[in-house]
Amino acid sequence: MSHEPSAVVAEDAAAGYKTRLGVWMFICYTLFYAGFVALNLASPRAMESKVLAGLNLATVYGFALIVVALILALIYDGLCRAREEAARVDAAEGDTN
């Protein structure tokens, strides 16, 4: 590698797992987003229908895209942290042995 990073980055044993997890979560969210775009094109009038607490489908789906992004992000972080912790424990045990 020709350039060193700006801060010293430790070896990340969980990197492969996090990448695979990220790709799958990215695909899930992309489908959700594509569904929004497709619905707007296929049936724009359906977006007028009231679906929740007097809000129309356009508003609920739009807010859901924002809220679901945050929920997926928190799930991703939780799973990544668990795997990083497990990798740290494995590494510590390896050092002890």
Partner: protein, 642 residues
């Protein structure tokens, strides 16, 4: 009051920059804040970086004029962070050092990649810089009573000082402060909107009396219009094309010594003339507003109001809840008076801009279709898909966003700061819907320029809130411009001078050349900000997203996930992404309209290039990589993140 709040804020920012400058002597400090920023601070700084003039001024203005279609930008901009978090965040931290070029060139040490990535960074940064500088000029006019070019100069001078003193460190803390304040006071503004509730005669809390627009009965015989009421004379009639399929008729009426423009409304019940507002520049250079010479006291009136709420012309007064507000706005029996504009030349060669109103039911306002023709032709639908694609893919390809991953200590911090950014930015984007709709119904919109919807809405609640919101809006521009100039100066000093041209420099020399580059880029941005006065802020930022998504994202993703990616493939992909996006934009209907040409004659039928330029850039990378495989490289080239 406004000026005091504004000056206090600017002086505080400058003091902070000089204070932090004492700790910035190395290249790592200047370009990446030593990689030691806390993830929480970096997350809010991400929000500060990202919530630019386009978000606060542009999106609020667009929602205020076209309703839900403006909110689509909020959704697309936020969704783009998912790409950043799940695909790019940790990889950027792992691969790079100071710039976007560092990351894509990490495995190759290719001069071609360095040059292509530096050029791409510069082009995207400049496209992003122009609307910020234009926004600065727009903002200072009502805030400080200064002319546009003074606003641009002021922002340029302050930002150059911020960046040239302490680089990424001061930029980060300016963005943190601005991001935090923007979210807090936008929340205050939304609460104020909900507390005010609904009225059909908005008077800005008693500050501005509600103006009732007139309607006159008319008769039309043999194509000749006459006003039924005596004392009104028809001076001239103009047929104006509004879109490719819609036209409108405007008549100039003389009454009491003044000449004003009215819109002809033909219904089965008869013909009526609806009062409009107008801004006319006569052939001898005089400027008339609503038929009288323009002056400090004779400006275009602020507009936007409800005609009825759930069928009631006098809705109950008092506060409303957040869901009840949106529910009432989306009701088919809620009627909103929106304002549009038409441009034409009168019979005396005067340039006329007429602002006319149209009544829109809530159910139409609160679903897509007023701006984006989702029910239009296949090309219109393709244009919509293209925009949503560019917004989704653009975020994770913006150089000034990507370099923020270098300011945190490790990959977990990069991930966590992105999550903080998603929370902060997502919350703000929900607020934009309330702020935009609040401006729609509270009679605060400037019909000539919707960019000031947010600050003018704040002014309707009093001088203090206006002063704070305007100072934050100014800081919004300061923060984003600072980040962009750091990214651009990194591209010039680090990518081009240091790594591409291999100029011999020690660490202090790298910082010095970075500062010189910041001053030059800042001066260039000032000139462009003055030249591009009047350009639409959101439009230009949308283009920056499309260029970034076309030039940078394919290279970044294929580098991470395709083992056969080569340096030549990446270089070709970046150049093709830039050229194709710029070409498609240059010949699009939007650019033709912007420069006063007939959009129907534009060779490219849609305005958003992403749907062609992004796949094209991917395809070029794949083809060129397959054609330039080297046996040795093949063995080495494991996918970085597999």
């Amino acid at each position: 009051m406004t000026i005091i709040v504004f000056l206090v804020f600017v002086l505080f920012v400058l003091w902070m920059s000089f204070y932090l400058a004492r700790r910035t002597t190395t290249a790592a400090g200047y370009y990446a804040a030593h990689g030691q920023i806390h993830w929480g601070v970096n997350g809010i700084a991400f929000a500060g970086d990202y919530l630019s003039a386009a978000s606060f001024l542009g999106i609020c203005g667009m929602i205020a004029t076209v309703g839900y279609d403006g909110f689509l930008y909020s959704i697309g901009y936020l969704a783009g962070w998912i790409v950043a978090l799940f695909v790019v965040a940790e990889a950027m931290k792992r691969l790079g050092k100071y710039t976007f070029a560092d990351a894509v060139d990490a495995k190759y040490d290719s001069r071609g990649i360095k040059l292509a990535a530096a050029i791409s960074t510069l082009i995207v940064s400049v496209f992003y810089l122009i609307p910020q500088m234009v926004g600065a000029g727009v903002l200072v006019e009502p805030l400080l009573g200064l002319q546009h070019h003074w606003g641009v100069l002021m922002v340029g001078a302050v930002v150059i000082t911020i960046v040239a003193t302490a680089g990424m460190t001061s930029t980060t803390y300016v963005q943190f402060l601005k991001g935090l304040l923007l979210i807090i006071f936008s929340t205050v503004l939304v609460v104020a909107v909900l507390m005010r509730g609904f009225t059909t005669r908005p008077d800005q809390g008693g500050r501005e009396s509600f103006y009732e627009y007139q309607s006159l009965a008319a008769e039309e015989t043999g194509g000749q219009l006459t006003v039924s009421e005596p004392g009104w004379d028809v001076v001239e009639t103009q047929e104006v094309s509004l879109t490719a399929t819609a036209t409108a008729t405007f008549v100039k009426l003389a009454h009491g010594g003044a000449e004003t423009w009215w819109m002809v409304n033909r219904t089965p019940a008869g013909v009526t003339l609806e009062e409009t507002q107008s801004s006319v520049t006569t052939s001898d250079g005089r400027h008339l507003v609503n038929g009288a010479p323009a002056s400090e006291d004779n400006q275009l009136r602020q507009v936007g109001n409800l005609e009825q709420v759930r069928g009631q012309t006098n809705p109950p007064k008092g506060r409303t809840g957040p869901f009840a507000f949106l529910s009432a706005m989306a009701d088919e029996d809620t009627i909103v008076r929106r304002w549009q504009k038409a441009k034409f030349t009168d019979r005396n060669d005067g340039a006329v801009m007429v602002y006319y109103s149209a009544l829109t039911p809530g159910n139409r306002l609160m679903r897509p279709g007023l701006k984006f023709k989702v029910e239009g032709s296949p090309i219109d639908k393709l244009d919509f898909i293209s925009l949503m694609l560019a917004l989704f893919c653009g975020t994770a390809a913006l150089p000034h966003i990507l370099i923020r991953y270098y300011t945190v200590p490790d990959q977990a911090s990069a991930r966590k700061s992105t999550i903080v950014a998603i929370a902060a930015i997502g919350f703000f984007y929900i607020l934009t819907l309330y702020m935009g709709l609040g401006a729609t119904i509270n009679g605060v919109l400037n019909p000539a320029d919707n960019n000031m919807a947010g600050p003018l809405l704040a002014r309707s609640f009093g001088g203090l809130l206006f002063a704070i919101i305007s100072a934050i809006a100014f800081a919004t521009i300061l923060g984003t411009v600072s980040g962009l100039i750091v990214a651009a100066s990194g591209a010039v000093a680090h990518d081009l001078c240091d790594r591409y041209l291999k100029m011999k420099m020690d660490d202090r020399g790298k910082v010095r050349i970075g500062k010189i580059a910041a001053v030059v880029v800042g001066a260039f941005a000032i000139v462009l900000g003055i030249l591009f006065k009047g350009m639409n802020v959101s439009f230009l930022v949308g283009l920056a997203f499309a260029i970034a998504a076309s030039a940078n994202l394919p290279a970044l993703l294929m580098l991470l996930f395709w083992a056969k990616t080569t340096a030549k493939g990446i270089t070709a992909s970046i150049f093709v992404g830039i050229v194709s996006a710029l070409t498609l934009i240059g010949f699009s209907p939007a650019v033709y309209t912007q420069f006063g040409l007939d959009p129907a004659t534009a060779p490219i039928p849609f305005s958003n290039p992403g749907i062609i330029s992004i796949p094209l850039s991917f395809a070029v990378l794949i083809v060129v990589s397959l054609l330039t495989q080297e046996p040795k490289r093949e063995a080495d080239a494991e996918p970085e993140a597999a």
